[in-house]
């Protein structure tokens, strides 16, 4: 299940949506807004999505994870619009019979999401400046297609 929302992400609901009687483990990743970026104080973030394509890419990532690991259920939720410090911008939850697969699939999903899903973060700094984040490229490599 994939979702893009401008509301606060309900972590408890995400957990419940992947809980099944067959699954023994759930791994959940929550990306939260940090109060600093490149050593500068961040006031808040805003996320913009190419929503129809982002949903399509998130669905494809879920399919790819399912083809690689015996997942029970998976959910990928990304928030858009303003996200305050400490709030969740992304939640990924994966359930499976054994924990190893849940961890691996969850890690795969967040890593790939950050590489290919067309969503952009705009940083509103405490000093009043505003920048589109180039964090991913600067720190971890270049964008690749699936």
């Amino acid at each position: 299940m994939v979702q893009i929302t401008s509301e606060k992400i309900d972590v408890q609901a995400a957990v419940e949506s992947v809980t099944t009687p067959e699954s023994g483990g759930i791994d959940l990743f929550i990306g939260t807004t940090r109060n600093h970026s490149k050593n500068r104080a961040v006031a808040w973030l805003e996320y913009e999505a190419y929503e129809s394509m982002a949903l399509k890419m998130m669905e494809r990532l879920e399919e790819e994870a399912r083809s690689r690991w015996p997942i029970s259920k998976a959910v990928l939720i990304h928030r858009i619009g303003r996200v305050d410090i400490g709030e969740a911008s992304v939640v990924i939850a994966v359930s499976s019979a054994h924990r190893k697969e849940a961890f691996e699939a969850c890690r795969f999903l967040i890593d790939k999401l950050k590489q290919v899903v067309p969503i952009w973060k705009r940083e509103f700094f405490a000093d009043g400046t505003v920048e589109w984040s180039r964090q991913y490229h600067a720190e971890e490599g270049t964008t690749e297609t699936l």
Binding site: K114, V116, T143
Partner: protein
Amino acid sequence: MKVTMRLFSIAKDLAGFDAREIELPEGARAADVFVVLNAVSTSFEDWRPSLMLAVNREYVSSEHPLKNGDEVAVIPPVSGG
């Protein structure tokens, strides 16, 4: 042919708009949207190496052939998560 060009993030800021219907000659390729964009802002020249293209919500190469009615999106480096 007519295609819809969509711009996001920094590309939208450089152009000053987020979507536009554009007219391209028959046989046009995805990267031909930059002919239009370079006329809007010279900054697209600098940004070109980091801008990807998507046609109808799929990443494509610069050489991807366009057809009438396509949605061509200019995708700056993504930074979700």
